[in-house]
């Protein structure tokens, strides 16, 4: 996993349970939205994050967000 992917995974876990859309997650981390989107797949498939429809806690727009997997 790339350093950016690890950084985004860490940010998602730290923000939990507040969901951030890709644009706001990118802004929070000071990177470009398309870079966050590019690493999201590996975070979902290999790092246990989920893609969920939520209202972003920063911009208040509904859309796709990354979330940590629910614990059983």
């Amino acid at each position: 996993m790339s350093p950016l992917a690890q950084r985004i995974a860490d940010a998602v876990h730290q923000n939990q349970p507040r969901p951030f859309c890709f644009a706001c997650l990118a802004a929070e981390e000071g990177v470009r939205e398309h870079d966050v989107r590019a690493v999201a797949l590996v975070l979902i498939v290999r790092a246990g994050l989920r893609l969920v429809e939520r209202v972003c806690s920063r911009c208040q727009r509904p859309g796709e967000t990354l979330a940590a997997r629910k614990l059983a």
Partner: protein, 145 residues
């Protein structure tokens, strides 16, 4: 030719039967993850990590479907699609533009360049496969007349 074919051990006869997919993406994790998935699903997989490799791989292998990233070194995905669609052999390939830029203008440009579908990242492999198979069905229907 630096693009990579992942099924060389399967032999020519098997290659003729299996659908071929070209995965063009400069993000290694994405490329490898899709390659593993589609290989396991019975596809012959070719990969490319920049636009120039993607064009060359499309000409060399004439895949059934190309999954093309937008932002890549050498040539961006839209330029690569234009060049592929201008190639007499490679133009038969169906193209999915997969991008982290979820903007209407990008979608419009992609479709005008010759892309058959526009998908935004992140795109789960299962979801991508549904689009790939839909395009393959469209090709078969067209061939059947």
């Amino acid at each position: 030719m630096e693009s990579r074919r992942l099924d060389e051990a399967h032999g020519a006869t098997d290659r003729r039967r299996r659908p071929t997919i070209l995965i063009a993406d400069d993000t290694t994790d994405t490329r490898e993850l899709y390659a593993e998935y589609f290989s396991a699903r019975g596809f012959a997989v070719v990969t490319a990590s920049d636009g120039a490799q993607a064009i060359q791989a499309a000409r060399d292998h004439v895949p059934d479907v190309i999954v093309m990233d937008l932002a890549m070194p050498q040539f961006d995905g839209i330029t690569a699609i234009r060049r592929i669609k201008a190639d007499a052999r490679a133009q038969r390939a169906r193209v999915i533009l997969l991008t982290g830029y979820p903007h209407a203008a990008v979608e419009r440009n992609a479709l005008q360049a010759g892309a058959d579908r526009f998908l935004t990242k992140p795109c789960l492999p299962e979801h991508l496969e549904r689009h790939v198979n839909a395009l393959r069905r469209r090709t078969r229907r067209k061939a059947a007349g």
